[in-house]
């Protein structure tokens, strides 16, 4: 089943001669357990695509479906519940609250959703442990490295029963080895944790972790990769010399 589907989504801002078309007729599907990367230059509409997929903005035309449910048909409060319970967001600049510990940052969305403090804290710790950060639970963001902060942000995005991860340049602020760690975690969250992820990036090395790479240009999907063959296709090839 597809966890996320965009059907002919267009988005424009402004009117008349000032009208800007950010997305044109974008269609995209992410099946359950899949990791999809969206690659494109800056200004290609990647971030707009993600905010519309995450129900933070509405498309001008077209439809977004989450777990088969058309977002336009659900009430405002149900949409807010989707954002609190089903969708997790990861941003380039982590967006952690500096006055809260790692564990408090991770459990906050559950507490805001009405879960008891104790249950929220347990779920938060579990999520941190999944990402290998159990021992950093009591640390504040400024006591963590950049890579650890982003892992806390991913733990927060996965906490509870969330099933759809939307990540906007999640490793943009990290060095290349920490960036690889973050991508491996997102990949494992899909393969072992049953999450579905859509990751926006301009970086081909990071995009190559995805099952499918969709190319965006001037607000249009221009191309996408074919399914990845097994590794034997490269390892059995003859040396060049």
């Amino acid at each position: 089943m597809s966890m996320l589907e965009l059907r002919g989504v267009s988005k424009s801002y402004g009117q008349g001669s000032a009208e800007v078309h950010a997305l044109h007729e974008v269609s995209l599907t992410a099946d359950e357990g899949a990791m999809v990367a969206v690659m494109g230059p800056s200004g290609s509409g990647k971030s707009t695509l993600l905010t519309i997929a995450g129900t933070l903005e509405e498309p001008t035309t077209g439809e977004v479906l989450i777990a088969g449910q058309p977002v336009s048909k659900v009430s405002g409060s149900a949409k807010a519940a989707l954002r609190r319970r089903v969708i997790g967001y990861v941003f380039q600049d982590f967006n952690l609250l500096p006055g809260l510990t790692a564990a408090e940052n991770v459990s906050l969305p559950l507490e805001l959703d009405g879960l008891s403090a104790r249950k929220a804290r347990l779920a938060g710790l579990r999520s941190l442990e999944r990402l290998g950060l159990g021992e950093r639970a009591a640390h504040y963001p400024d006591q963590l490295s950049g890579g650890e902060r982003q892992r806390v942000a991913i733990a927060r995005a996965m906490v509870g029963e969330r099933r759809l991860l939307l990540a906007d340049e999640p490793s943009g602020a990290l060095d290349s080895s920490n960036a690889q760690v973050v991508m491996r975690l997102l990949h494992d969250a899909c393969k072992d944790g049953g999450m579905t992820a859509v990751v926006v990036t301009h970086d081909a090395q990071l995009a190559s972790w995805a099952d499918r790479v969709v190319f965006l240009r001037d607000g249009r999907v221009t191309d996408q990769t074919s399914p990845v063959p097994g590794p034997e296709s490269l390892l059995t090839s003859e040396p060049n010399q």
């Binding site: 690659m39 230059p41 491996r184 990949h187 301009h202 970086d203 081909a204 090395q205 995009a207 190559s208 972790w209 995805a210 790479v213 190319f215 240009r217 221009t222 191309d223 996408q224 990769t225 074919s226 990845v228 063959p229 097994g230 590794p231 296709s233 490269l234 390892l235 040396p239 060049n240 010399q241």
Partner: protein
Amino acid sequence: MSVRHAMLALLSEGPKYGLQLREEFEARTGEVWPLHVGQVYTTLQRLERDGLVESDGTSDEGPQKGFRITSAGEQELARWLRTPPDLSAPPRDELVMKVLVALHVPSVDMHSVIQAHRRYLVELMQQWTRIREDDAGSDLNMSLAVDAELFRLDSVVRWLDAAEARVDRAAADGAMPRTDQPRRRDQAPAPLPRRRREARIRR
């Protein structure tokens, strides 16, 4: 990489028999050293002649003959490891040539040419990333070789991104090569090989 230096590297780990050298060479060939195994014994004879390895003196020229590296051999290996290969001349890169040629072909959509190459490169990178993911760093040789390939392919994708941005800027400035009308011979740009040579001289 030469078979000669591969042999010196294997012997730097300790004395080995001819057969052992051949087997270890074969085991690493393809993964790390993409070379032919045929020259192993003749290479060992030449290394001995040049004083870079010593044999145990048995008359047997075959698999049971033992070899060890000499101090001259160790020096040669150390010198070779630190000598950068000649990268001063740009390699003949078919992909770069295709993109440059496409600029001059009437009615070619540069974006679709660039995207065809970009997609192929990203698909290759996905395959290498799967290998890295399966291996999870347990084989250091393999990890380094896969990293090298990923960084190399990534650099080509980055070049394509930069090329596309340049083409867009040139189109916006009206500075794209004119391909819609025949050019007089004296107006034509120099052929690509000549311009490459000139570019190399200026470097």
